[in-house]
């Protein structure tokens, strides 16, 4: 996400992919002797942030799933039953609530595919215009 520019989430997905890739890159640098504790601190911070975003999106999906189900006038009895289960905290049955989550893998995969297409198109531009210097 950039200051002054709207975004629909592809930039966010790009950030998540990079943040989740950081430990692997840092591990490689550690093996090569190019890493430090300070660098690992940044990696952990970004990982925590990316993990929090994913968890937050999952919770948001759950909230919206419940909201959509209630507003649709369907299964209201089931919802109240599930909320009761959640309050009691019966493991296993609580998983039933998770089925209401609208945060499924399909939109994530779609965003990743879109991101991949953008990155491939950018590489195609590089191939077509062959910039003289590459850093």
């Amino acid at each position: 996400m950039n200051a002054g520019l709207p975004g629909v989430g592809i930039g966010g997905v790009f950030y998540l992919v990079l943040a989740l890739f950081m430990p692997f890159l840092e591990l490689y640098k550690t093996i090569k002797g190019e890493s430090s504790l300070k660098r690992w601190g940044i990696v952990v911070r970004q990982l925590v942030m990316a993990g929090s975003i994913l968890a937050g999106m999952w919770l948001m999906g759950l909230f919206l799933g419940v909201l959509l189900t209630i507003s649709g006038g369907m299964e209201t009895e089931k919802i109240s039953e599930l909320v009761q289960i959640a309050q009691i905290g019966q493991v296993g049955q609580v998983a039933e609530i998770a089925k209401l989550n609208i945060f499924h893998m399909a939109p994530v995969i779609m965003s990743l595919m879109t991101l991949l297409v953008i990155l491939i198109l950018t590489q195609v531009l590089v191939f077509l215009f062959r910039p003289s210097v590459t850093r």
Binding site: I10, M49, I53, M57, M60
Partner: protein
């Protein structure tokens, strides 16, 4: 327009790296009414498009910059269409106001990084208070970015007058 973006990208083109310093503090004077904000958003949108036009070839040389700008450009265009046309159309066609939740569905992705940022500065209250404004501004900004694309790319009428927004 957007001389800070122009400067940053030019640094990269000349072999320098630009780094984010999270502890740096800045207290900008924000626009106090919509007229000033309109000028600012117009400048930012036109500035981004002008910088893309001006630097796209040079940006292709730098992997970090080319990927970041490509994603930002795509995201800005698609997001604007989604927020200004697709979501309202879905609401009207299906008569279902719940589609409006699409405007805030990414709340965690916006809120969580914002809460990480003021670490040590203890200004969580201000950050939280400004979050609703972000969603309004993002949608309003959709108009300005589409307008900038239309004016700069289609009508070939670049913004040349720097109207001070703040």
């Amino acid at each position: 327009m957007a001389e800070d973006m122009d400067l940053t990208w030019t640094f990269y083109h000349h072999g320098y790296d630009v780094r984010f310093v999270p502890k740096a503090m800045c207290y900008p004077i924000e626009p106090h009414n919509f007229d000033f904000m309109r000028k600012q958003l117009r400048r930012w949108s036109h500035g981004f498009i002008q910088n893309v036009v001006l630097h796209w070839r040079a940006n292709l040389r730098i992997p970090y910059l080319r990927h970041l700008v490509s994603v930002a450009l795509w995201d800005a265009a698609i997001a604007s269409l989604v927020y200004l046309f697709i979501v309202p159309l879905l609401v009207v066609i299906y008569g279902q106001p719940l589609f409006l939740l699409a405007y805030v569905i990414d709340l965690p992705a916006v809120l969580i990084p914002a809460l990480f940022t003021p670490e040590g500065r203890k200004n969580y209250g201000r950050v939280l208070a400004s979050v609703p404004a972000f969603f309004i501004l993002r949608t309003v900004n959709g108009y300005f970015i589409l307008n900038a694309m239309w004016e700069e790319w289609v009508r070939r009428r670049p913004l040349k007058v720097y109207e001070k927004g703040h």
